[in-house]
């Protein structure tokens, strides 16, 4: 691994750690909805079926989650 490659790996690990910490700040429901939306790419309708909620509630959970994560990463 080159010198720049090692630096990029270190930065990526730090970014991953910060993301993990930001997700820890979410509630379990927010984390689940955010995961299904961002990681799995599910629609709000599909998320609502999975978590046993409504599409509107899933939408609210996602917006609250993305706002919390962005504020956490901005404060870092």
């Amino acid at each position: 691994m080159s010198e720049y490659g090692a630096l990029d790996s270190l930065i990526a690990e730090e970014a991953q750690e910060r993301v993990r910490q930001s997700l820890d700040a979410l509630s379990p429901t927010q984390r689940e909805v955010f995961t299904l939306r961002v990681q799995q790419g599910l629609s709000y309708k599909e998320i609502a079926e999975v978590v046993g909620s409504t599409e509107g509630a899933a939408r609210v959970h996602y917006h609250n989650a993305i706002r919390t994560v962005k504020e956490f990463l901005r404060d870092e």
């Binding site: 993301v19 997700l23 379990p28 689940e32 995961t35 961002v38 993305i66 994560v69 962005k70 990463l73």
Partner: protein
């Protein structure tokens, strides 16, 4: 940084990230992201989170599986109500009490004496006293026939001796047989409980006969 007021576009950013948007929608979102700094920043955050792969342990797999209709039809989800669990605990507690109580009664129960000679000693106890044998005698009114036959011909059974306890109703032969029987009881091993009729009482009885 300016706040983006186009919430419809922002909601489509994850779909743009996964490439699931239709062509016209993707063009519209990409055009907005090119001019909106906040949406660009949010898209970078989402891309970082997607590539970070830090979600896996957070998903409640059981809850997700229960949402699958096919799984519901194959394996019906039946949870025992709390009342059933309480009843089960009560039944278990009652059974434990019964077992412990029964065991205690068995341990506290006095031992039954199976030795027939000990029974003989308890049954023979009123025999030497003629005054106390009146009820026994009333049960055998014809002591001459029945009692005599029992004492003379029957083997030395303690019941027969007790019935013939009133010596006034016995003949000399019956009394001698009775004395022989009583002497036989004296030959019991020393380790056994001694009968109530002792050698002295037998001797005095024999003296009375003389």
């Amino acid at each position: 940084m300016n706040r983006c007021s186009d919430s419809d576009i922002r909601e489509l950013l994850p779909d743009l990230l996964h490439g699931t948007l239709a062509a016209d929608a993707r063009g519209r979102v990409e055009a907005h992201v090119a001019t909106c700094g906040e949406c660009r920043e949010e898209l970078d955050v989402l891309r970082t989170i997607k590539t970070a792969a830090v979600f896996a342990p957070q998903i409640d797999v059981d809850r997700v599986v229960r949402q699958i209709p096919l799984y519901r039809t194959i394996v019906p989800v039946t949870e025992r109500p709390a009342r059933t669990r309480v009843v089960s605990w009560l039944v278990a507690a009652a059974m434990a009490i019964v077992v412990i109580g029964g065991g205690s009664l068995v341990l506290m129960k006095p031992k039954v004496v199976n030795d027939p000679r000990a029974v003989v000693s308890t049954q023979l106890s009123p025999a030497p006293n003629p005054a106390e044998s009146t009820p026994v005698n009333s049960r055998v009114p014809a002591a001459g026939a029945t009692g005599r036959t029992a004492v003379v011909s029957a083997p030395p059974h303690p019941r027969a001796l007790a019935l013939a306890a009133n010596v006034d109703d016995l003949s000399d032969g019956d009394l001698r047989q009775l004395m022989n029987d009583m002497n036989r009881f004296d030959a019991l091993p020393a380790s056994e409980p001694e009968p109530v009729i002792s050698v002295d009482s037998g001797t005095s009885l024999e003296q009375d006969l003389r």
